[in-house]
C-alpha cells in the first residue's frame, strides 16, 4: 500500500508551491525526490510528515488518512532525519540515538530501548563513536548517527532531507548504500530528498521528479532520468549513458545559460567561465 497522495495543494498566501500532486510511494522501496532548488521537495516531505498543513488534498498511509493521526502516533510510523542537526547543547552519540525511542518510551529508558539504540549504532558502524559527543563528529559521521536515531524510532517510513549534502563522494556513496541496505534488511520505506542525479540513479528504486509544483516524472531511474527530462527540469544539456545497468548522466557545458539566467547575469557568469580557474568545469555537479 505505502503512502498515497491525492490532489495535494500547498502554498503560502498567493504563492502555490505544490499544485495538485497525486502519487503513490510504494512500501519497502528506496524512493528519491529530485528537482531544482525551491521546487518544493522539502515541502512535500514536510506535508507527508505533517510538519506542514495541507491547503487541500489527502495523504494516507496504508489507507489511513494521516490528517486523522495524532503526531504522537505519527512518530511511531514515520521518522525524520533533518538536513542538519540544530542542537546547541550537544549530547553523546548514544544519548542522541536514544532520542529516537521518545515515541515508544516513558520517562526513563528501559534495557530494551538501550539495546535497540545500540543495535542501530552497530548497524550504521558507529559503535566506536557511541560515547563521543555528537558535535565532535565529521559530517559523514553525523549523518550516520542521525540515520541510526531515525531507525531507533522503529518507523515504517524513514524520511531524510538531503542526507548526502555536504558529504564527499565516498560518504555520499556510503550513506546511500547504507540506506539501500536498510530498505532491504528492515523492509521499511525510505524516502530521500536528493540533488545528485547519478547517486540517485545508482541507488533509487523509484524516483519522483518535481518541476513547477507538479510531478514531472515518476518511475524507475531509466524512466525518469532521460536527457529530455533533465534538460526541461534543470535547464541543462546532458548525455545519458548506461553504467552498471543504470543511467549515468554526464552534464554538458554551455547552452543552459540561455534558458535560466538573465542576460546581465549570463554575461558575468560567462566572463567567470572564461577565467583560468573555472574554464572547462561544470557548474552543476561534480561530473567530470
Amino acid at each position: 500500500m505505502g503512502i498515497e497522495i491525492e490532489h495535494l495543494h500547498f502554498g503560502y498566501s498567493e504563492k502555490e508551491i505544490l499544485n495538485d500532486i497525486s502519487l503513490t510511494i510504494d512500501e519497502g522501496k528506496l524512493t528519491c525526490i529530485l528537482g531544482p532548488n525551491g521546487v518544493g521537495k522539502s515541502t512535500l516531505m514536510y506535508c507527508i510528515n505533517k510538519l506542514q498543513k495541507l491547503n487541500s488534498g489527502r495523504i494516507s498511509y496504508d489507507g489511513v488518512d494521516l490528517a486523522t493521526v495524532k503526531m504522537k502516533d505519527m512518530a511511531k510510523l514515520f521518522s525524520f532525519v533533518p538536513h542538519a542537526e540544530e542542537d546547541v547543547f550537544s549530547m553523546s552519540v548514544m544519548d542522541t540515538v536514544l532520542m529516537g525511542r521518545h515515541p515508544h518510551s516513558g520517562f526513563s529508558m528501559t534495557k530494551e530501548d538501550l539495546k535497540i539504540a545500540a543495535d542501530n549504532i552497530r548497524l550504521l558502524g558507529v559503535e566506536d563513536l557511541s560515547m563521543r559527543s555528537f558535535d565532535e563528529l565529521s559530517a559523514g559521521q553525523h549523518q550516520r548517527v542521525m540515520i541510526a536515531r531515525g531507525l531507533t524510532q522503529e518507523p515504517k517510513v524513514l524520511m531524510l532531507d538531503e542526507p548526502t549534502a555536504n558529504l564527499d563522494v565516498k560518504y555520499q556513496m556510503l550513506v546511500m548504500k547504507m540506506l539501500r541496505d536498510i530498505t532491504r534488511l528492515k523492509g521499511i520505506t525510505v524516502l530521500i530528498i536528493c540533488h545528485d542525479l547519478n547517486v540517485t540513479s545508482m541507488f533509487a528504486d523509484d524516483i519522483i521528479l518535481l518541476y513547477g509544483g507538479k510531478v514531472f516524472a515518476h518511475g524507475t531511474s531509466e524512466e525518469v532520468l532521460t536527457e529530455s527530462n533533465v534538460e526541461t527540469v534543470y535547464g541543462v544539456k546532458c548525455k545519458v549513458s548506461e553504467i552498471q545497468g543504470r543511467p549515468h548522466i554526464a552534464l554538458l557545458d554551455g547552452d543552459y545559460l540561455e534558458t535560466h539566467i538573465s542576460a546581465s547575469s549570463k554575461d558575468s557568469i560567462e566572463d567567470a567561465l572564461e577565467s583560468e580557474e573555472l574554464k572547462g568545469q561544470s557548474l552543476v555537479t561534480g561530473d567530470e
Partner: protein
C-alpha cells in the same frame, strides 16, 4: 574528546563491539555521572553545616547537625538551648533560603537554556528581575502595594510575571521562535528598568537605599515565615521541570525534529516558560534579585556531567545550591557584616565561570 568531568570517557567501545558492550559502556558512564552528583550532594551537606556553624557564636559541624537531629527527633543529647536558638531559629532559615533559591534559580536557568536553545538564557532573560525590581520599587518609593500586608513581596511577584505575560500574549498572537521570546523579554526588561530608574530619581535617601538593597538580593530576609511559600513554589516548579527533561532533550535537537517525535513544541515551551517564571518570581520576591546563579550553575553542571537534561537539571540544582551556600560562606568570611548575596554570586561566580570556560579543552555547548 570533549572533557566532561564525570562520566566523560577517554575510550569507548571498539568498532565491531556487540550491542551488550555498547550498552555496558553507556550504563557505566551514566553510573559515574550519578556518582558525581552524589559526591556534590555530600559536599553540599558539609558546606551547609559549615555555613550554619559560622558566625560570632561558632558551632562545630557535628554540633550543627546534632541540633537539627535533636529538633527533628526530640532525642536530647546535651544540646544547649542557645545552640538550638542559634542554629534552628537564626541560621537554618537563612541556609534553607539559600538552598531553595539556588535550586530554583538553577533549575529555571537550565530549563530556559535548553528550551530556548540559548546558552545566555536565564530566568531573568524574560525580564522577570526587572519586573520584580519595579514592583518592589513602587512599594518602597510610592507605598503602593497590591497585597496589603504582603507589601513588597506581593508587588514583586505580580510585576515579575508581567514580562512573561507579555511574551505569552505575543506567542499566542504571532507564532514565536525562541529568539523572538528572548528579544521580547529583553525589550520589556528595558521598559521596566527605565521606569525603576525614574522612580529611584524621585525617592529620598532611605527609600533609595532600601530599593537598591532589594535589587541586589539578600538572604537576610529569609525566615521560617517566608520559607514555606518559597519552598512550595520552587518544589512544584522544579518537579515540573524535572518531568519535562525528555521533552527538553527532544527540543534541543530542533523544533521540527521534536515535532516529528510527537512533541507539542509550542505548548511545552509556553507551559515551561510559565513554570520557570513563577519559580523565579517566587524566589526573587523574597530574596530580591540574585544574579548569575541561573545563568552559571547550569553551565557548571554541563561541564561536569554533559548536556542530557535528565542529569543536567538535577546537576544544575545541586550546583546552584552549592554556589549559593558557598557565596554565603565567602560573604561571611571576608566581610564583617555579611554582604548581600547578589554581590558575592556575581563577584565570585564570574571569575569561576571564566576559569571553567578556559579549562575546557573543547566547549561544552
Amino acid at each position: 574528546m570533549k572533557k566532561i568531568l564525570f562520566g566523560g570517557k577517554e575510550s569507548g567501545p571498539e568498532l565491531g563491539s556487540d550491542s551488550d558492550t555498547i550498552v555496558a559502556f553507556y550504563e557505566h558512564g551514566r553510573a559515574k555521572k550519578v556518582l558525581g552528583l552524589l559526591f556534590f550532594i555530600a559536599i553540599l551537606v558539609v558546606i551547609s553545616g559549615y555555613a550554619m556553624g559560622m558566625g560570632s557564636y561558632s558551632i562545630s559541624l557535628t554540633e550543627v547537625y546534632g541540633v537539627i537531629w535533636e529538633h527533628l527527633t526530640h532525642m536530647s543529647d546535651g544540646i544547649t538551648s542557645l545552640d538550638m536558638r542559634v542554629v534552628w531559629d537564626a541560621r537554618l532559615p537563612r541556609l534553607l533560603t539559600a538552598l531553595v533559591a539556588g535550586i530554583g534559580l538553577a533549575a529555571a536557568g537550565a530549563c530556559m537554556q535548553s528550551m530556548l536553545k540559548n546558552p545566555l538564557a536565564d530566568p531573568y532573560t524574560t525580564g522577570i528581575s526587572s519586573g520584580a525590581s519595579f514592583g518592589a520599587t513602587i512599594a518602597i518609593v510610592l507605598g503602593i502595594t497590591i497585597g496589603g500586608s504582603g507589601g513588597i513581596v506581593v508587588n514583586a511577584f505580580v510585576f515579575s510575571l508581567i514580562p512573561t505575560a507579555v511574551i505569552l500574549l505575543l506567542s499566542t498572537l504571532k507564532k514565536s521562535s525562541p529568539t523572538t521570546m528572548i528579544l521580547a523579554g529583553i525589550s520589556v526588561m528595558y521598559v521596566f528598568n527605565a521606569l525603576t530608574s525614574w522612580l529611584m530619581l524621585t525617592a529620598d535617601e532611605t527609600q533609595m537605599a532600601a530599593a537598591y538593597e532589594w535589587t541586589i538580593g539578600t538572604l537576610n530576609k529569609g525566615s521560617w515565615t517566608t520559607l514555606p511559600a518559597m519552598f512550595a513554589v520552587t518544589a512544584a516548579g522544579s518537579l515540573a521541570i524535572l518531568f519535562s527533561t525528555k521533552y527538553l532533550n527532544a527540543m534541543n535537537a530542533g523544533d521540527d525534529f521534536a515535532k516529528t517525535l510527537g512533541v507539542n513544541v509550542n505548548k511545552i515551551r509556553i507551559t515551561l516558560l510559565g513554570v520557570v517564571s513563577v519559580v523565579a518570581a517566587g524566589i526573587v520576591s523574597f530574596t530580591g534579585v540574585i544574579g548569575f546563579v541561573g545563568l552559571v550553575a547550569p553551565h557548571m553542571a554541563r561541564i561536569l556531567i554533559g548536556s542530557d537534561n535528565k542529569l543536567l537539571i538535577p546537576g544544575s540544582m545541586i550546583c546552584g545550591a552549592i554556589m549559593m551556600v558557598g557565596c554565603d560562606i565567602i560573604s561571611k568570611l571576608f566581610t564583617t557584616s555579611a554582604l548581600p548575596i547578589g554581590i558575592i554570586t556575581s563577584l565570585i561566580g564570574g571569575p569561576i565561570f571564566l576559569i571553567l570556560i578556559m579549562r575546557q579543552r573543547k566547549e561544552a555547548w
